[in-house]
Structures are given as structure tokens and as C-alpha cells.
Amino acid sequence: MTAPLVSVRDLAVHFDVTRRALPFPGGTRTIVKSVDGVSFDIQAGETLGLVGESGCGKTTLGRALLRLVEPTRGQVRIGGTDITALRSAELRHARRRMQMVFQDPYASLDPRMTVGQIIAEPIDTFGLAAGPARQARIRELMATVGLSERFINRYPHEFSGGQQQRVGIARALAAEPDFIVADEPISALDVSIQAQIINLIERLQRERRLTYLFISHDLRAVRHTSTRIAVMYLGKIVELGDARRVYDRPLMPYTKALISAVPVPDPAVEAARRRLVLHGDVPSPIDPPSGCRFRTRCPYAVDGCADAEPPLAEIEPGHFAACSRLSRERPDLDAG
């Protein structure tokens, strides 16, 4: 087995929100543990899908991998380089190999730059091409993402959301990265455009052997695009495994609830399905529940769940879950 392209160990991102947001004069420090000790690998050429509800820390995790936010502790290695140990000049150099595609394509594009200038920026920053080769490269990138080169001098506001996302993808590709963090790349788009962008992202992966972290709350899209899926809850990864395994046979009660909540465009399925509807809201990441963080909403919780935080354990080969009631002998809580 080859070394993974991305390797994350005990990564944590904590935000100190003591004085900025809350008026406690000289009071207690308030720390939001957005990402609180996660470890995982991503193999080269793989797509790891990262799912979870708002506030679970998935966006912060994606940004921390590229050091767009500073980790509080832990290590991120990409292609053998310890990203967390780099000084800023080295980091800038390393960023060429890791790029990001954002949720809101319009907000992520400079409104005063033309499409050509936006795509040229990484080419110039990293000195990847100059003169006629640079121009050819911009046109080639536009063609790759399905934008007519007629648009090269147009501005972002002249495009639809789907086209803006194509510009964002072309910009990410311009740096010739190995690894792309795609943070909710389809959720702001119309339904008919979502399939176009999913197909584009998948084609680029096949053609360029890209490795993705695909962050989304849309479990249908994640199941479709991902090799493996990681499920996050309140700053922790609570389930990790092969995409179809996790979607079709989830272990964690939380994952089961997430999947049973996904509406399926088939009235027969919708009428027949048994839903596991969770009660209440996600607790605050400032003061998460003791022990298992999901226990306050878990239909299977017992007294012991409040005591110790369950580790992410391998319940089935290659399929991990963080639940103290699950074990190799008893991989399904519904079974008895």
C-alpha cells in the first residue's frame, strides 16, 4: 500500500470567542471547539466525502487542511510535506499543489477582474507559464471546464451561478494541484446545473488523477461522488468508511438519522420508508455534551454514554464508528 496523499492526525481548530462576541467583563474564556481532534487519510486519486450538519466543523476542517485557518494542534501532511510546520513563504509555495473550490462562486471571484485575469492569477503567482503559452493555458482551462473562450474578457457578474462555479474550478486547476478541497460546490446551484458540475468534477478527477475532499450536506451527491465518506458531528468524525457501505449500511445512529432524513425523488420509496427523526437541535460546540457528543439526541443512548468519549473504532473491516454500544460482535443497534 502506498502512502496516502493527505494524512491528518489529531487536528483541532479552536476559536477563542471570549471578548469579541460575548460581553463577559474579565469573565471565563469561551472556546468554540470547531474541529476537536480528527484523524484520517485520503489516498491519491480518491474522493473523501465529508458530511454533517451546519456547525459541525466540516468547512473549518477543510480550510484547516490548506491552512486557511490555523490549526490549534495536530498535523496535516500533504504529499509528504508537513503543512502545519511550514513558514509562510514555504506555505505559499506549497499551496500550488492544494486548491479550493468554494460554495458561493460569486463571492469567491473578484468582481473587478475578468475571467481571463482570474484564471491567470495562479499561473502568474506560481510562474507556471508566460507570454503566448500563458494565453494558451487560460483558453485551454476555459475549454476544460466548459466555458467558451469568447467569455475571456467578461466579468463574474455577467455569468450564471453554474458558469461562475466553472470559473472557480478553472482557477483551482490553473495551479495544477494534486489535491482540491471542494466546499459545498453545488449547493448554491439550480438542480439542473448540479449534475453538470458533479460530472465536471468527476471527469477532471479521471483525467488529472485529482484527489478531493468533497464537503457537502447533500448526502445523495456525496454518495455519488465519493470513494469513502466521513461523517462529522460537533467537531468529531463519528463514522468513516466506504461510501456505499456508509450510505447503504450505516453503523452510527446519527448517520442513520441523516440518511433516513434525505428525501428521495420516488413517491413509493417516500411512502414506505421508516424515518428515524431526531429530536432537538445540535448542541452548542462551546459546551458539547460529556462523553458521546451525540447522546443528547441519540435514541439508543444509555447512562454510560455520558461517561467516556467513544473512540473511532473499526467495527467492520475498513468501517469505523465512534459509539460505545457498537462492537464487532454487535454492529447493528437495531438488531436486538
Binding site: E53, Q163, D190, V262, V264
Partner: protein, 334 residues
């Protein structure tokens, strides 16, 4: 057969922009029976939200105006009612909830006061009655500790809880018709499931009719009795829910259904994709508005606008090839 609760006929809602007329809703017709849930599906610019605003008499004017048609609610044409009478219907007999509860709730008012305002106005409740009713409504929509939370402000509620407050407000006069415009789009899936479950339960209890507007075919499949699919301001398909999903008769509906990643999709397969972009209703092509994106389009489609064709009883499709599309198996899924 009893008369429908709501009957929309030939509705046209136009917006005057500069020298142009944008036909946001262009000849839309549908019926809604008592106790029925109608799903309206469409992408941005399809006219689905403007249709609901037209029913509520809330189209911003100018630049918007209802240029034609009738909206008959319980025997009366809402478009011809004086504003005073419309006010007695809106909020009391027809209520609406929106995608973003924060834009519909007053951030400076306690939620209780906002709920009380509705029943004091429409039901003539005294303050004490209105307050008791507000607490009862909050409890009914599943807000824990309603007697205390009635005195809180909207920012003290989570997104899902705010949407519950909106629903409590909308339902506080027990309306006959609830219009829900993307009610769960801003919410997480587990909260979405809670809210949809709540709407299902309240629908049974109150016996109200619902118009559910959504871009999510899955949400509509689980909630609606009938579905209307809109594209470029027009109804392009209309059918009972099961036939619409099993045998769509319009290439657009078919494309939408095929392009949603489904749990039965084999890994590594390319999704079906509708090419091109949703249309700009200010610049529609001649003929069928979907023709530029349609893989079946023939020369006639680019010249002549297709009529609504009835392919089966109650199943309409706006397509020159409606019967051919209806005959296709929806088998690309597998």
C-alpha cells in the same frame, strides 16, 4: 365532484423592466382540492414563487402586475376583491411561510407579541386569549417550554425553531390553505425532516390544503398529492404525484429526475445532465422555452410553442412530443 378550494386560471404576472415586459408567470392554471397538497417544482426564474405571491396579492407593484387570469378561492376571485376584503382572507384563511424565517419575523418583537398580533387582528382575541393561544400554538409546533419561550426574541431561536415559530404564526388562525415557499431549503436535513413531519401532522389535524413550492424533487415526492412542474413562467407538466415520478411526459421533468444522484446509481457512472442554463425569462426564444436544452428538440420546437397535451386523465405535458416521452421507460436509472 365538489368545487376546488383554489382554482387558478390563465394567471399572467408581468414585470415592467425598462422598456421590456418580463412574463414571470405566463398563463398558469391549476386546481387545489380541499385537504390536498400540491407540489410546485421549478428552478430559479421558473415563476413558482411569483405564482404564490400572486395568490397572496403580494406581488411588488410596480414593477409587477397581474396582467390576466383569475384566482378563485372558495368561490371568490381574489384578483377582484377590494384590498379590505383581501386582508380578511390573507393571513386568516390563506397563510404563507417562506424560506428564510428571519426575514419574515420582526427581530425587535418578542415572538409571542408577533403571534398575538395575528389573532388579535383576525380572530378578535383579547390580550389574554391571544397570549394563551400563542403559547398553545408554539407547543403544538413542538417548541419545548413554550410558556417561557413565548417571551423571547427571534434571535434566541435556532433556524429550525424559527421556522417552527413561522409555522405557528401561519397556522394560528387555522387557515384553509397554507402556501409554503421552500420552507426547508435553509435547514439541515434532520431539521428538514422534523419540519416536514410537522407539516404532515398539522395538515391531518387541521385538514388544510397545502401548496408546497420546492426545487427538491425528493421533498415533493414525499409530501404532494399532485405536482406542477414550472419552467420559464409556464406549467410544463402537471400530474398526480406517482405518475409524474414514474412516467414523466415532459423532457424537462424527465431530465430533472434523471439528473438527481440516486442511491441506486452505480458508482462511477456519469449523471444524466440537462445541458445549458435555466432560461432568462426576459429573453425567451421563440417556440418552446426548453428547446435549446432539450435532447429531443426538432425544428418545429424552435418555431411553435407547444400546447399542454393530456397524455392520461389528469396528466398534462407541454411538449410537441408529449406522448412519445410518456411512452419512454424511465430506465436510465439503475
Amino acid at each position: 365532484m365538489t368545487a376546488p378550494l383554489l382554482s387558478v386560471r390563465g394567471l399572467r404576472t408581468y414585470f415592467d423592466e425598462d422598456a421590456r415586459v418580463v412574463r414571470a408567470v405566463d398563463d398558469v392554471s391549476f386546481d387545489l382540492a380541499v385537504g390536498e397538497t400540491l407540489g410546485i417544482v421549478g428552478e430559479s426564474g421558473s415563476g413558482k414563487s411569483v405564482t404564490s405571491l400572486s395568490i397572496m396579492g403580494l406581488v411588488p407593484s410596480p414593477p409587477g402586475r397581474v396582467a390576466g387570469g383569475t384566482i378563485t378561492f372558495d368561490g371568490r376571485d381574489l384578483l377582484r376583491l377590494p384590498e379590505r376584503e383581501l386582508r380578511g382572507i390573507r393571513g386568516r384563511r390563506i397563510a404563507m411561510i417562506f424560506q428564510d424565517p428571519m426575514t419574515s419575523l420582526n427581530p425587535f418583537m418578542r415572538v409571542g407579541a408577533q403571534l398575538m398580533e395575528v389573532t388579535e387582528l383576525h380572530l378578535g382575541h383579547s390580550r389574554a386569549e391571544a397570549r394563551a393561544h400563542a403559547v398553545a400554538m408554539l407547543a403544538q409546533v413542538g417548541i419545548p417550554d413554550a410558556a417561557r419561550r413565548v417571551d423571547q426574541y427571534p434571535h434566541q431561536f435556532s433556524g429550525g425553531m424559527r421556522q417552527r415559530v413561522m409555522i405557528a404564526m401561519a397556522l394560528s388562525c387555522r387557515p384553509q390553505l397554507l402556501i409554503a415557499d421552500e420552507p426547508t431549503t435553509a435547514l439541515d436535513v434532520t431539521i428538514q425532516a422534523q419540519i416536514l413531519e410537522l407539516v404532515r401532522a398539522l395538515r391531518r389535524e387541521i385538514g388544510m390544503s397545502v401548496i408546497l413550492i420546492s426545487h427538491d424533487l425528493g421533498v415533493v415526492a414525499g409530501m404532494a398529492d399532485r405536482v406542477v412542474v414550472m419552467y420559464a413562467g409556464q406549467v410544463v407538466e402537471s400530474a398526480p404525484t406517482v405518475p409524474l415520478f414514474e412516467r414523466p411526459a415532459n423532457p424537462y421533468t424527465r431530465g430533472l429526475l434523471l439528473s438527481v444522484p440516486s442511491p441506486t446509481h452505480a458508482a462511477g457512472t456519469t449523471l444524466y445532465q440537462i445541458p445549458g442554463l435555466p432560461p432568462d425569462v426576459a429573453h425567451l426564444p421563440p417556440g418552446c422555452a426548453f428547446a435549446p436544452r432539450c435532447d429531443r428538440a426538432a425544428a418545429s420546437c424552435r418555431q411553435e410553442a407547444p400546447p399542454l397535451v393530456e397524455v392520461a386523465p389528469g396528466h398534462l405535458s407541454r411538449c410537441h412530443f408529449a406522448r412519445d416521452v410518456y411512452a419512454l421507460p424511465l430506465a436510465v436509472r439503475a
